[in-house]
């Protein structure tokens, strides 16, 4: 039986009157990628801070790898890697110096910073000062830094935000490689496509609460609406759209009728996106 690498039990945090995280409970299995989604101010960052030992929960418990985070935060932090959304590198130092510093802090033995930099596509720029790096390079270095201790649990906060498609793809590949290695990945993102593509399960967070948690497929099944979309040519030569809802008793006859009565030019099925589902559940989009 796979045990949960991350367990949140009634986790809560508030800033004065404002409740940021409201008694949330969930588990993330070892080797699983959990996409953690929600608009700004939903409580995602506060949750991550409690899980990584940066904030002490006001109520509830965070357990990582079987250890209560509040009781042995250093031990937990030795086993995790965190990649922040905002760049926070030592810019006057080179990439390799940044990695070596964190390897020393973690006490990582047999650390090969050059190999890690090669892996994130920074080969040849290892000794350049970080201040001379582009945003994408800095982001890749941030990811590399979160991997120096070969973490068993990896927290990634918007790891591909603002990156070009090639850089984003290389980071996604690294996330999948880490999962292959056996790491548990807690992925906070606004990018629903990315979450859909990478995550084994996704959690929707809104106003401090987890409003849905399941696999993308199940969420789509539960909340989404599948449809068949077609373009048909009319007698006057114009193109018109037709939509047939799938998964209803009338679907087969509606499809037959479409082909019998209309001149179908194109046809394709369409699934609900995670964003559609989020809107359906919360009544608003991810932009808040």
């Amino acid at each position: 039986m796979t045990r949960d690498a991350i367990v949140a039990e009634g986790l809560s945090y508030w800033y004065g009157e404002l409740i940021a995280v409201d008694h949330i409970s969930f588990g993330v299995a070892e080797g699983e990628i959990l996409g953690f989604l929600g608009p700004n101010g939903a409580g995602k960052t506060t949750t991550v801070k409690m899980l990584t030992g940066q904030l002490k929960p006001k109520a509830g418990k965070a357990i990582l790898l079987g250890i209560d985070v509040a009781s042995d935060v250093e031990k937990v932090q030795g086993e995790i890697g965190v990649c922040f959304e905002e760049t926070n590198l030592y810019e006057q130092m080179s990439a390799i110096e940044n990695l070596k510093l964190f390897a020393r802090l973690f006490g990582t033995r047999e650390f090969d910073g050059y190999a890690l930099l090669r892996r994130v596509g920074l080969a040849g720029r290892e000794k350049d000062r970080v201040e001379n790096y582009s945003k994408g390079m800095k982001q890749r270095l941030m990811v590399a830094r979160s991997l120096v201790n070969r973490p068993r649990v990896l927290f990634l906060d918007e790891p591909t935000a603002g990156l070009d498609p090639a850089s984003s793809e290389s980071i996604r590949n690294i996330i999948l490689e880490e999962r292959e290695r056996g790491a548990t990945v807690f992925l906070t993102t606004h990018d629903m496509m990315e979450a859909d593509k990478l995550s084994d399960r996704v959690a929707f967070m809104d106003q401090g609460k987890i409003v849905a948690l399941d696999t993308p497929h199940n969420l789509k099944q539960q909340y989404g609406k599948r449809a068949l979309k077609a373009k048909v040519s009319t007698d006057s030569g114009k193109l018109e759209d037709r939509e047939i809802a799938l998964d209803t008793p009338e679907t087969p006859s509606a499809i037959r009728e479409l082909f019998a009565r209309e001149r179908v030019v194109t046809i394709h099925s369409e699934e609900a996106s995670l964003e559609d589902i989020f809107i359906r559940i919360t009544g608003r989009g991810l932009e808040g």
């Binding site: 990584t52 030992g53 940066q54 250093e74 031990k75 932090q77 030795g78 995790i80 965190v82 922040f84 905002e86 926070n88 590198l89 030592y90 810019e91 006057q92 130092m93 110096e97 510093l101 964190f102 020393r104 802090l105 973690f106 006490g107 830094r145």
Partner: protein, 351 residues
């Protein structure tokens, strides 16, 4: 405390410190400039005595007592004499009464006025006193024939016989120590502002490790430079152990101040005004050494007083442990309190 973690942080901070051109220039050139200032300032005291004399009638014996190292200038009025003393043209002024010869001849004691500069050391006053006594003896055959009344003009600065540059030593030592607060405070401020602290705080590093590393870095930079300076200017020659202990406590004090400023500032630019705010009061006790009597007892509420006074007394008068232990105790207490305040303020900022 994890020594591996602390070591890694100290190496990182030293590396960042010396990569900042402004800090490197301030550290290296600052030290060179202070040494130049020290060696340019006279290292000896002018022993010649310039004495002003007002005498409506110059007695014949006065001609005989002028000699090597003694220059006597006769002035027109007592007012001119006082002005000359205040302006520093004469280290002392002697005013003889108009009827001095008649009084001496009739066996009465004429009253001679002695004006001294505010910074005239006791030795000079003694020397002029001897001069007048000698004059009386030459003129009348007895030394007690003249009554001398002394008037001090300006502030009393008895004990100015120490060469000016040695008086400057405590001031320069305080300067060197304080300049390092700027580097430390900037590193701390930037650590928070650039959020690198956040990255550190999700590693096995504890906040205690972080303070230890910053403390070691601040103390070693300040202590190292101040020790080097003192060694070059001869401040270590008399009581090296006491001097080292004093500078070490001074370095701890300024590290605490660095923590405090680091908790208030965000980067090098915002550090500067705060450094100035603490710099000015902390150098005040040094002026008390350069110009004795400038400030009264209240100066003892300034923590750096105990640093300055100890450096002064140890390097200039060879004071021992028995003479300065109270100073060291006070300096240690102030250092502990300020480091504690600094750590508390920083801890709040980190959280």
């Amino acid at each position: 405390m994890n020594l591996r973690v602390v070591g890694a942080l100290v190496i990182k901070d030293l590396s960042l410190f010396f990569r900042n051109r402004a800090f490197t220039l301030l550290t290296i050139f600052g030290l060179i400039v202070y040494l130049i200032i020290y060696f340019v300032i006279p290292g000896s005291v002018d022993e010649s005595l310039d004495i002003g004399l007002y005498a409506p009638v110059v007695p014949p014996a006065f001609e005989q007592i002028q000699g090597e190292g003694l220059k006597m200038e006769v002035v027109e009025s007592e007012e001119t004499l006082r002005k000359g003393v205040i302006e520093g043209r004469y280290v002392a002024g002697v005013a003889l009464p108009a009827d001095i010869m008649e009084r001496l001849m009739s066996g009465q004691k004429p009253q001679v006025k002695l004006y001294v500069t505010s910074d005239a050391p006791g030795e000079i006053k003694d020397a002029v006193g001897v001069l007048i006594t000698e004059f009386a003896y030459l003129q009348t055959g007895q030394s007690l024939a003249i009554e001398v009344s002394e008037e001090i003009l300006g502030q009393d600065m008895i004990g100015m016989q120490i060469p000016p540059r040695d008086r400057l030593r405590p001031l320069l030592a305080v300067f060197i120590l304080l300049v390092e607060t700027m580097g430390l405070a900037t590193l701390i401020g930037e650590e928070v502002e650039r959020r690198t602290i956040q990255a550190l705080l999700v590693t096995p590093m504890t906040v205690r490790d972080l303070f230890a590393a910053k403390g070691i870095m601040g103390v070693s930079l300040a202590f190292g430079q101040a020790t080097l300076f003192m060694a070059v200017v001869g401040g270590m020659s008399g009581q090296p152990l006491i001097m080292l202990a004093t500078l070490l406590l001074g370095a701890v004090l300024v590290t605490g101040i660095g923590f405090l400023i680091g908790s208030l500032a965000r980067d090098m630019l915002s550090v500067m005004p705060w450094v100035l705010v603490v710099f000015i009061p902390l150098v005040i006790p040094s002026f008390n050494v350069m110009f004795p009597g400038t400030f009264t007892g209240w100066v003892k509420v300034i923590p750096s007083y105990y640093l300055v006074d100890t450096v002064h007394r140890v390097s200039n008068f060879g004071a021992g442990w028995g003479d300065i232990w109270r100073n060291l105790l006070m300096l240690a207490l102030f250092s502990i309190v300020i480091v504690w305040i600094g750590i508390t303020a920083l801890r709040r900022k980190f959280q």
